[in-house]
């Protein structure tokens, strides 16, 4: 069978790898449509032909479930990991906290905390370090984590809080230097998936969601820089 | 018969129009600049709306705003030669003709595009961009375009004023033939009395948007009171008479004016054909005795009916030649020295070369393309 899966932008690369392996294994076909979680949510409420949603947060899948648009309860398929990153291989030392405390010349890129879970996590991290007030005035904000990465990659912002998954997916010459933010410095970035009404009874969709928590799938997710769902371990 | 009633209401110009033009042959609209000639043509064409207009052509109502009747311009089958030519800038000169040809009335057969091209000598212009044409070339193409559309009424707004005399003379006979051979009535706006007297059968004198006077050309030209409007210098009369005989040796034609003979340069017409000639007042002299040894061919017996002495050097003498009026413009001094008085019998001297002549509609035309004045 065939399934249309809506995927939050930050998970695009991982989802492509997952879909390829899944199709290979099951013979089902998976069509991915990517976008920001907010956009995908709005589209689903307007009848978008998606069978499942892999969101970047937990709020919107739950909301879909609450208003009766879901075919099953949402579940967390991955937990994102935040990193401070610069394309300059020499910029970020092993101890990012000291580096931040010393101050960054220019603007620090983060995702918009109101829109993107990674942004919120970045804000929490800075707050935890007591640096939020200081950096608040010298941030550059992307609307999503992808834009944040580009702002940094372009060199316009010397460093930024991005997803670890992005650094791993980046071309080698862009890897630069990074500091993985300890998970304890911010609330976990849980990403939820949910089967939609339209996907109920769709073998391919249900199988793909199941694959996310299957060992194969978990391996791919981990390799992409996320912590897979707890049921995997 | 064209009837046109309207109330022109421009911010700076308003007029009550009530025109009835005979519309057989060529009707001249003559009047000072800015007195509404162009506006009258536009009303007739249906290009000027919102003025409570009534237009009918030979009983066919084209517009009656009171009754909500309006035949749109493109259904009136008129031709319009605009004062500003309005050639289509995206087409060549030939393209402009083709445009008209493709939309020509199918129920008329003439003139053909080839015919018009020949007549107006448009051949060398056909593939030219209209922007590159000279002023006169532009106007020739515009005339050609209007003709090629084979209208049943032709409206011409000073069509010849950009042309040199020679071109004018070449085109004039063709416009006459439009009327004579193709039964195409023409409303013709002009500032030139030459053109008017040469072409028009009927004249409307336009003043302030209204018709100050109208009538057959001879009548209007004869009216002394209209002198100032026609321009004194150009005033004159029109005489009509049948051809009596031809003199091939000297290429002269004799015309009967009343019981007398007017001898003039030849006009190709059979005896009996009625011909009209224009005699300008300034070309007429007066002799008290029969002259001799003079190159002036015509000395018509006439009786002075009135003498208008003007300010300045001149006087206008109105004479009666066997029932037809004739005007002479001479000096006051001559009036005094010759002791001219109303009632006196005199000779009216008219140079043959001063006679503007044309055939009357219905008669046969002269050789086309030959300026005949």
């Amino acid at each position: 069978a065939e399934a249309n899966i809506a995927v939050a932008a930050n998970f695009t690369s991982a989802a492509e790898d997952l879909a390829a392996a899944f199709e290979q294994k099951t013979g089902h076909r998976v069509i991915l449509s990517t976008g920001s979680t907010g956009q995908l949510y709005a589209q689903i409420t307007q009848g978008a032909p998606f069978d499942a949603l892999l969101a970047a947060d937990t709020a919107r899948p739950e909301r879909l479930h609450a208003v009766g648009m879901a075919g099953a309860a949402p579940f967390t398929y991955a937990t994102g990991r935040l990193a401070l990153w610069s394309p300059d291989p020499a910029l970020i030392p092993g101890d990012g906290q000291t580096f931040l405390a010393a101050g960054v010349a220019g603007r620090l890129a983060i995702a918009n905390p109101k829109l993107a879970p990674y942004g919120l996590a970045a804000k929490e991290t800075l707050t935890a370090m007591g640096l939020w007030e200081r950096y608040n005035a010298s941030l550059a904000m992307g609307q999503n984590i992808a834009q944040t990465f580009q702002m940094t990659a372009s060199g316009a912002a010397p460093a930024g809080f991005v997803a670890l998954s992005q650094i791993l997916a980046a071309p080698a010459e862009l890897r630069g230097s990074h500091w993985p933010v300890p998970a304890a410095m911010h609330a976990p970035i849980h990403q939820s998936a949910v089967l939609l009404k339209r996907g109920s009874g769709n073998d391919a969709a249900e199988a793909f969601l199941a694959y996310l928590t299957a060992p194969d799938g978990c391996g791919t997710i981990r390799a992409a820089g996320y912590t897979p769902s707890g049921s995997c371990r | 018969m064209l009837t046109l009633r309207s109330a022109i209401r421009f911010p700076e110009f308003s007029a009550e129009v009530d025109v009835t033009a005979p519309l057989s042959g060529i009707t001249g609209l003559f009047g000072p600049s800015g007195h509404g000639k162009t506006t009258l043509l536009r009303l007739a064409a249906g290009l000027e709306r919102g003025m409570e207009t009534y237009v009918d052509l030979n009983g066919e109502i084209w517009q009656d705003d009171a009754k909500g009747i309006f035949v749109p311009p493109h259904k009136r089958r008129i031709g319009f030669v605009f004062q500003d030519s309005r050639l289509f800038p995206h087409l060549t000169a030939g393209g402009n003709l083709d445009y008209a040809a493709r939309r020509a009335s199918p129920d008329r057969l003439a003139p053909t595009r080839e015919h018009v091209v020949d007549m107006l000598d448009l051949g060398p212009l056909l593939h030219r961009r209209v922007q590159d044409l000279s002023g006169g070339e532009t106007q020739r193409v515009a005339i050609g375009r209007a003709l090629v559309s084979r209208p049943r009424l032709l409206l011409m707004d000073e069509p010849l004023s950009a042309l040199d005399l020679r071109r004018k003379m070449e085109i004039l006979p063709y416009i006459e033939r439009l009327r004579d051979e193709m039964d195409l009535p023409v409303l013709y706006v002009t500032h030139s009395i030459d053109e008017l007297s040469r072409l028009a059968d009927h004249v409307l004198l336009i003043r302030d948007g209204a018709v100050a006077a109208q009538g057959p050309v001879p009548e209007i030209m004869q009216r002394m009171d209209l002198g100032p409007m026609m321009g004194r210098f150009e005033a004159g009369v029109i005489l009509e008479g049948p051809v009596v005989s031809q003199d091939p040796d000297f290429a002269m034609t004799d015309l009967a004016i009343g019981k007398q003979i007017l001898r003039m340069p030849n006009i190709e017409a059979d005896p009996g054909t009625v011909v009209r000639v224009r005699i300008r007042a300034r070309d007429v002299s007066i002799a008290t005795r029969e002259p001799a040894g003079l190159s002036i061919r015509n000395a018509l017996r006439a009786r002075i009916s009135e003498i208008f002495v003007e300010e300045g050097a001149f006087a206008e003498v109105l004479m009666d030649v066997d029932g037809t009026g004739l005007r002479a413009r001479i000096t006051r001094e001559s009036v005094s020295q010759l002791e001219l008085k109303p009632g006196m019998d005199v000779y009216a001297l008219i140079k043959s070369s001063a006679v503007d002549r044309r055939l009357i509609p219905g008669g046969r035309a002269g050789r086309p393309g030959t300026p005949d004045i």
Partner: protein, 225 residues
């Protein structure tokens, strides 16, 4: 270039071509009316035409989505009529693009029509051309430059259009995934090489299309008939 990119390119050309052609046609009467009416209504209509521009594309897309969705006025009617959904379909994309690019077609045409004036239309009428005939054969060719501008702007804008298309179309491969979204995705997923290649290809291709349009127009300003 992947298969997906190729189908995105084809879809983009279809969408941009269809949008530009339809929009130029649809805008013509509106632009003509705006250029020549004496009515005060145009004081309202003229700014309204420009309004689709002032909303952020995704936001406009959001409202269009509501309109085109099965619950929306237009979308509902469409479903009732065809059984299909407008949202997330090519037709829906097309409608959205039409709305979004409307001002780029109307305004240049209006400028051009105003420059044409009425005198050539009058001349055409006296030669027996009906208003429509005269419009097609006189006013339009004289306004050709305006048509060219309208076409170029709407075509280029639709190619690059993004927010609206993404929202209304839903980025469904082979159905509503246009090239701008594809490039966007390549950038988002950090496939910069792919993104550069595709951007360059798009630029070169668009350049060629636009240049062809320009030269065609320059070559044909005066015709024989």
């Amino acid at each position: 270039m992947s298969d997906g990119d190729l189908s995105a390119i084809l879809l983009t050309l279809q969408l941009a071509g269809a949008t530009a052609i339809i929009l130029v046609l649809l805008s013509t009467p509106l632009a003509w009316w705006l250029a020549h009416t004496g009515s005060r209504l145009r004081w309202v209509v003229e700014p309204v035409v420009a309004l689709p521009l002032v909303l952020p594309p995704t936001v406009l897309g959001f409202y269009l989505l509501i309109l085109l969705g099965p619950a929306g006025a237009l979308g509902g009617a469409w479903v009732a009529l065809t059984g299909d959904s407008l949202a997330f379909s090519f037709s829906g994309l097309l409608i959205a693009s039409l709305v979004y690019s409307l001002p780029f077609a109307v305004q240049p045409l209006q400028t051009a029509f105003q420059a044409v004036g009425t005198k050539h239309m009058e001349a055409a009428a006296t030669l027996g051309a009906s208003p429509l005939d005269a419009f097609l054969t006189v006013a339009s060719p004289i306004a050709l430059r305006g048509y060219l501008t309208a076409f170029v702007l709407t075509f280029a804008h639709t190619v690059g259009e993004f927010g609206v298309v993404l929202m209304v179309g839903g980025n469904i491969p082979e159905r509503t995934r246009v090239i701008s979204i594809a490039i966007f995705e390549h950038v988002e997923t950090l496939s910069y090489g792919e993104a550069h290649r595709l951007s360059l290809g798009l630029l070169v291709f668009s350049f060629l299309v636009l240049m062809a349009v320009t030269i065609l127009h320059r070559r044909a300003p005066v015709r024989a008939g």
